[in-house]
């Protein structure tokens, strides 16, 4: 497939995640939109790794492995991030009995 299709698909997914972050007030949904943005980037990384693999196959048969391992590490970091972030959201819910991020604007006082 042409790499352009993957590029625009990832851009569209990333923008949808961005719109979700900007338009929702539920902290958990915002967190899920961030996961969607991470996944859009992962998809693009894999597509680019396969593109480089096809282009430089004759020089080095292992080219492109780095991109896929980067995706693996992004997934690892995302899993760690989710565990800590959900713990923070649960603690916030315990204190203010809401997941509305609007309640957090008292942090600025």
């Amino acid at each position: 497939m042409p790499i352009n299709y993957y590029l625009f698909l990832s851009l569209a997914l990333f923008s949808i995640g961005m719109v979700g972050v900007l338009t929702r007030r539920n902290a958990i949904i915002i967190f899920m939109c961030i996961e969607l943005m991470l996944n859009a980037v992962n998809l693009l990384l894999v597509a680019f790794s396969k593109m480089h693999h096809l282009k430089n196959l004759a020089i080095d048969p292992m080219v492109g492995v780095d991109g896929q391992l980067f995706v693996f590490f992004i997934m690892v970091v995302a899993a760690a991030e989710v565990s800590v972030g959900l713990a923070i959201i649960v603690m916030m819910y315990r204190n203010v009995h809401s997941v509305d991020i609007q309640f957090l604007n008292r942090l600025k006082h």
Partner: protein, 173 residues
């Protein structure tokens, strides 16, 4: 007959539609289910690109573990359509407009890029297989791999410390 473009378009439409439904649905539980559908579509894309290891890890880690965690928290807090906080209409419109502007600018910037004639290798190639990736992960990338285990340990400790109830607070209340 080559079936690959049809699968590509089907998975792309599925991913985009599920992502849109995830952002727009009022009930948080439906949002989680649509996001799982998006992750399955992205895993389908990985299989199409012959990145089998990442496809399996994506399903196990994202659609399995992380989404169960989200669903568990949502059900713990008993969130539903009625308790869902809503932004007012203008803020929503401005947010959608800002996201659309981001998409427009990125597409305009990248549509004449040098990559136009490049192809992504679909359906063949061995770099996505577990054997190749595992060998690379445990030789050249072994230090980052060990560091990520430390990251997991610190995340686990952090989640336990944050989630713990303060003894002084429980006495007060």
């Amino acid at each position: 007959m080559n079936i690959t473009p049809y699968i590509f378009w089907f998975l792309s439409v599925m991913a985009l539609f599920s992502a849109l439904m995830m952002v727009t649905s009022r009930n948080p539980v439906y949002s989680v289910l649509w996001l799982i559908s998006t992750f399955f579509a992205i895993s389908g894309h990985y299989i199409l690109l012959n990145a089998q290891f990442l496809a399996v890890v994506n399903i196990i880690v994202y659609a399995g573990a992380i989404m169960v965690l989200f669903l568990f928290v949502i059900m713990l807090m008993n969130l539903n359509r009625e308790t869902e906080p809503q932004k007012n209409r203008w803020l929503k419109l401005i947010g959608a407009l800002a996201g659309g502007c981001l998409l427009l600018v990125m597409v305009a910037a990248l549509k004449d890029a040098e990559l136009q004639s490049q192809q992504a290798m679909v359906g063949t190639g061995s770099i996505g297989l577990i054997k190749v990736l595992g060998k690379e992960l445990f030789t050249r990338y072994v230090v980052p791999f060990e560091i990520s285990s430390l990251l997991f340990l610190s995340a686990m400790v952090g989640a336990a410390v944050i989630g713990k109830k303060e003894p002084a607070q429980t006495l007060k209340s």
